[in-house]
Amino acid sequence: MASRAVSVSAALVVAGMVLVPVTAVLWRGGGFGGLGPADWAALRFTLWQAALSALLSVVLAIPVARALARRAFPGRSALIALMGAPFILPVIVAILGLLSVFGGKGVINQLIVPLGLTRLDIYGYHGVILAHVFFNLPLAVRLLLQGWLSIPAERFRLAATLNAPVWQVLEWPMLRRLCPGAFVVIFVICLGSFAVALTLGGGPRATTVELAIYQAFRFDFDLGKAATLAMMQLLLGLAAGLVALRLAPRDGFGAGLDRQVARWDGISRSAKVADTVWITLAAGFLLLPLASVAWAGVPGLFTLPPEVWLAAGRSVLLALGATALTLTLALPLLSRAGEAAALLGVSVSGLVLGTGFFLLLQPFVRPASVALVVTMLVNALMALPFVLRILRPGLDGAKADFARLSASLGLSGWALWRIVYLPRLRRPLGFAAGLTAALSMGDLGVITLFADGDTATLPLQIYRLMGSYQMESARGAALLLLALSLGAFWLFDKGGRVNADT
């Protein structure tokens, strides 16, 4: 399974699942479309906002993840799970949650304006960055936190006995290994931003490539242009991926014996205060908007129409299916080539990808009859880069530590995975499964292109409710979605941790 042929062909299959649909759209659109100055402006804005958002998310994640890694306090694991929630919220819900805190009439302004301070104006480029950091900081924190947890306890003990600077000898090398990858996945997510960038950016200055794609598709039905723009997204995502893979040095830490990480550094008063401040700030930044989403949802939660519950059930099944599919696809893709191929999936516009699948399937089946399957597949393609980023450092570590022992015991193929790699990857697998489940639960995805009345998912119902003025029910359904996503995430993540330490 780890053989080169398998991983290369898996990479080709995944690349094909992205490139073939996009090519189908391009072909149907009659070739590449011309781009105007507004499109190039959109491309420039897309690029720099994505780069800055990703950079800030990763830089801010470093102190937060470090604080979480070396502090034990009651509710720590619940906090970590909750902090992951922004990443999985439907965009519209997240925007309203953010505005309830940072908006003109938001909590912060209600606190500072009476004190005579200038009103905080969230709308502008800083708003776009703030929103993207809100969405992606949790992912960055989790990716880096994993890195900290992967440093074996023995190394901390060794550093403590030598009185060596932990930051220099252990943490910085770990961060050098993980940060480029984290940067790239977040950069690529931000490439596809549309509604968030527009709304928080305060208008057309914050036009992204994705909006141009939507416009080409919905208003002009210019498929050639839509596909051309999607190809540019692909190139950007791929370029970023290749740069990062090159930047990240490949060295492991050696295996520990899986004991709970105890540390001897960071016991000074100032370190404790700093950690507390970072955790509090991050928790406040991420949790206040969520609390507002939850609070606004309570009144509507108890009067939700049955269709919403049905859709919720459908979304749960969809999420489980997408999770199984993603993990199955991920294992043979755990290689450099696999990771590069998987980046294609998330960098390309979901709208174009969905349209491509629609074009390809339409001659053979009724698109609506495969709506959920296609949605599952697209969700899996979108989730793959995160899953691979989460799993690869763990697999590289397991290989570095146990490849010789496994080879001397004649372990290979599936037995090697079953006995060595999968158990070694238990923690990251749980995290990856939780993230995929939560992501596909909250993703509106391509279901809008295919859906019939009886295939609507929960996020789609939320949009429908909002579109019919039913704001209260929509808020209630959003709370339900939040609870389900978090629940799925928590269960999988927990499953990966149970007994993983002993």
């Binding site: 074009l359 339409q362 579109g467 019919s468």
Partner: protein, 326 residues
């Protein structure tokens, strides 16, 4: 995979239903949802046709264009006036052949393909307990103090946003860009779609939101909330209409004709106000629900024909973009 039995179930279900004729109607997502007019219309029509009406939702025109002549659709309902030109040019649709003299639209309608079923006008909605001196003209809005907070939709991704741009074009013509520049400081932000804007408005993030003259009716009738009003402007309001058309290649041509005629019936039209939250296209106003009768209606209605709209659209959007990108 859990979906396989599910998909198989779907296929079985459609096979079982094949004995009664099926009329396939493509509709926008909001229309066919449980909270839109779709379900009521489906029940009423099925009662009289002895058939099975099925909605297919999604992006209406892109989907039809993707499927081309192979489309399953017999009827498509929910075209906004901005896409009828493109739809017409596709050659997918058949003339409706209906007598449209019963239409009660505020403009003249002589379209032989698209039958309107509801209309409204773009308007700015506000909370009348917070704003007591709402602007009564577009000029007054432009000259309002800059702390009046407006939220709009993007004309490149939203039909109401596009209608606003055309509205400004009608009112200010060549001076549109100046008008937008005056409006710009008051615009809090521009959103992708109507739902985001309206959510921001009901959350108190904006004082006025770009919506429709009929929006207050929802609050009045469904929530008994009288605090939402539409600001009516002297210059007139841009007219927004949704229409339906029959597919040329429909295999259920008679049923499709029946449905097109049903659209203009009183039974259909009386369902529109309180499920679509807009004015019915063919119903005298004495038959409207009380909440609708009480709505202030603009005296003057502005509208571009689809050809005129196509001619000015790009320029109007560009004026908007330039002014708001400053």
């Amino acid at each position: 995979m859990k979906a396989l039995p599910f998909v198989a179930g779907l296929m079985l279900a459609s096979a079982a239903a094949a004995e009664t004729p099926v009329l396939t109607v493509y509709a926008p997502d909001y229309f066919a949802s449980e909270w839109g007019p779709g379900p009521g219309i489906e029940a009423a029509f099925e009662e009289r046709c002895g058939c099975d009406l099925e909605y297919k939702t999604g992006e209406l025109l892109p989907r039809l264009l993707l499927e081309g002549a192979n489309t399953e659709a017999d009827v498509a309902i929910g075209f906004n006036s901005d896409i009828t030109k493109k739809a017409r040019e596709s050659g997918l649709f058949a003339p409706h052949g209906l007598d449209t003299s019963a239409l009660t639209l505020p403009i003249e309608w002589n379209d032989d393909t698209f039958v309107p079923f509801n209309y409204s006008h773009t308007a700015f909605i506000y909370d009348n307990t917070k704003i007591t001196d709402a602007p009564t003209s577009f000029d007054a809005l432009l000259n309002a103090p800059d702390d009046l907070r407006l939220v709009l939709q993007d004309p490149r991704s939203s039909i109401s946003g596009l209608a606003l741009v055309l509205w400004v074009q009608q009112v200010y013509g060549e001076k549109s860009e100046e008008a937008w520049a005056k409006l710009a400081p008051k615009i809090v932000t521009v959103t992708k779609g109507w739902s985001e804007s309206y959510g921001m408005f009901t959350d108190g993030e904006a004082d006025m939101v770009l919506s429709y003259t009929t929006s207050p009716a929802y609050h009045i009738i469904a929530e008994e909330d009288l605090t939402k009003s539409a600001a009516i402007f002297d210059e007139g309001h841009y007219f927004m209409v949704e229409s339906a058309a029959k597919l040329k290649n429909s295999e259920q041509s008679d049923l499709a004709d029946q449905f097109m005629a049903f659209i203009l019936s009183e039974e259909f039209q009386t369902m529109i106000p309180t499920s679509n939250w807009s004015f019915p296209a063919a119903l005298a106003d004495d038959k409207w629900p009380e909440g609708f009768k009480a709505l202030p209606v603009p005296e003057k209605v502005l509208f571009y024909s689809e050809d005129e709209a196509a001619a000015v659209r790009n320029e109007a959007i560009e004026a908007w973009r330039r002014a708001l990108s400053q």
